[in-house]
Subunit: 292 residues, 3 copies
């Protein structure tokens, strides 16, 4: 299988895909601004009364359970089913799955009722969806895209990703010091990013938002998304996952070079700066991607 | 009619008006910080149990439907009626009206039950309140204060503003590449701002918050607000709308000159910087205002 | 009694205590990022279904009533009782107490049902819990850590703090131009901080979050917290309150020196920068602390 993300950013900046996010109130502003920065058009809406109307006009749907409650889980499932009916890709961020039973069950309920195209989480979160217990410390660790892997170093992340991707016919993206992306068949590793990304809340949520912005731009020609993860749709979704995670990691590298020594406030601002200035040439020149 | 905004900022900085905001959780932090930056004192409160008590002590009320739900609409109407009873100006930001029926209906329900002194939105949102369909793309476009006008270029924004202002005895502010402000009688255009403002979420919401901060400072002497948009109250409210929209646009210009090339993260920070440093001399020297 | 905060920051950075926050949606991102900046690990969770599970894994619990509603008050009390049962310190931020009856009653209800180890507020908020009426202007003033003291200048803050600390067997921290911290027996004053801190929303909430991060690190050896404010637990909690308030004030001083003239946006970013770079030597060299 051949990935193609050589013009991923140009595609987003040309088409400004509308990305519907049902997400947590902690990092929602950063998610919206990172989607805008890469060229997408975010809309945050979680009222049961309008999620069907919103997702129907959107090009991708993000379901992020960072501050879930009874109503948002209902809205997520309704929006997800609507997206499925219209072949709009659904991206799940199972923040804190494995940390509390409520979150693990909410993530699994979504997966039972909605066909999800991509799941992005850290190793603890993804492992919990696979039924593997790990030393998950909290959503802060869960949210990290750099330092969580050592929590469950005795298990093989690539195997977990492949098996879970096959089980749910989805793309699994495990972010950490090394990122793992698999559609159940192919498997890729990305070695971009910077440890300081774990010291700003929401960098994982932002990566998920970026994946969603790329999901539509990459999948404009796909008519039946989410159904065959090893086929054309899967190839497209895995490209979106790679583009989203790589752009976030590279933004972290650029931001650290510019502002890392100033502190995490300036670093946070510089991440958005880097995303807003990034183009495909810069992405390709920094990209540390390999098939495994 | 004669606008007077020559000492608008000094008035806010002297009186620190308390501005009660019932607003969305996406941009709420920026709205609070922009009100603080211009000299006001924000209080965000949306519980049905306390909105009457909060608005009763406030000098202006912002109703922003960016992430509305059943409870917040109820709280908005209760707060709005309380404000009306006490002649406290109400400023409505109908985020996403026209994009989903739920939002359009919520905005209209508020307008049916509450006398609103100023409505600020982009052309799609305002047109939807006037019953005109447009190519509204989402709240991101809705939130833009620079690029939305071309969506419905075949209709005349000034006519829509005037007619809607007369219908609801209110001031209408349509923000876009050129801003239109009308109280149903007079009509003004503002040509400040910068296209990059549409790449940071919440700049529209922030403009609405600024208008509210100016609303009280401008209307200290008015005893019966909102009832005669063409009279003294109307003159005062239109001044507040002009001051709020102009200060936001000018902050965008200053921020772009300082940080636009760094990226949208730095630009975002620089907007708040510019607002916090702005004075009336700077506002007047940048102001591109004309009566039409 | 002898305070010891000489290695407070090192302790937090070594142990990364998990801090569970049930807090408002206005400043939640800043609270999370300030806890991360000082070395802690924040988790924001307010669903009744999971707060017991979350707090049980945490080292401290923050209850901040900045945007309370019926559900969050219930979640706060459930989380607080769970924390009590496990000797996890509870830190209350009674945002806006005294401003609306709803907030005053919510704070008192929490205090009736939960043993709180530390209460941090401005003078108006703390005075309202003591049954003293004051000229509270709103949560913005309430949120200020610099300018609220003159509102009720005719009453003695140190007396209020001592009496209230004794009544609830807790530590009281009144932040303002001069901060007062008392456990009912000893009383300390801190003279750090900068007036510009009152022009950024959430600096009070951030101080409360920092106190919580220090609470666990300081109290690792305490087995029965909250029960004897004048004893070992009290000594530990008063150290956490001093470390949290001092680090916030000193971050304000450093941020003002670096970015104060740029405006409040840059100042806001520089506060997080300063917290993320702070160490115990810097804290001690800036500290203006005296026992009274």
């Amino acid at each position: 299988m051949k990935l193609d993300i050589t013009h991923a950013i140009k595609d987003v900046r040309d088409t400004h895909p509308l990305v519907h996010c049902i997400t947590n109130y902690v990092t929602v502003n950063d998610v919206a601004n990172s989607i805008l920065a890469i060229g997408g058009s975010p809309i945050m809406a979680d009222a049961l009364e309008e999620v069907e109307a919103v997702v129907s006009k959107s090009k991708a749907l993000v379901l992020n359970i960072g501050t879930l409650n009874e109503n948002t889980v209902k809205a997520m499932i309704l929006a997800g089913k609507t997206a499925n009916a219209k072949n709009i890709p659904v991206i799940l961020d199972p923040v804190g799955a494995g940390f509390t039973p409520y979150r693990t069950e909410a993530a699994k309920k979504i997966l039972d009722e909605v066909r999800v195209g991509i799941i992005r989480g850290n190793l603890s979160e993804i492992a919990s969806l696979a039924g593997i217990k790990s030393a998950n410390k909290g959503v802060d660790a869960s949210d990290s895209i750099t330092d969580s892997q050592n929590l469950v170093a005795d298990i093989n992340p690539a195997s977990i990703a492949k098996n879970l991707a096959q089980k749910y016919s989805t793309v699994i993206a495990i972010t950490g010091q090394t990122d793992i992306i698999s559609n159940g068949n192919s498997c890729y590793k990305i070695r971009n990013g910077h440890p300081l990304l774990s010291k700003v809340t929401g960098t994982g949520c932002m990566a998920t938002g970026l994946i969603a912005a790329f999901a539509e731009a990459s999948s404009a020609a796909i008519t039946d998304l989410n159904t065959d993860a090893a086929g054309a749709a899967g190839a497209t979704l895995i490209s979106a996952a790679v583009a989203g995670i790589a752009s976030m990691g590279i933004a972290g590298e650029i931001a650290f070079a510019k502002a890392g020594n100033d502190g995490t406030g300036s670093f946070h601002v510089a991440i958005i700066d880097a995303l807003s200035r990034m183009n495909d040439v810069e992405l390709q020149s920094h990209l540390k991607l390999e098939e495994v």
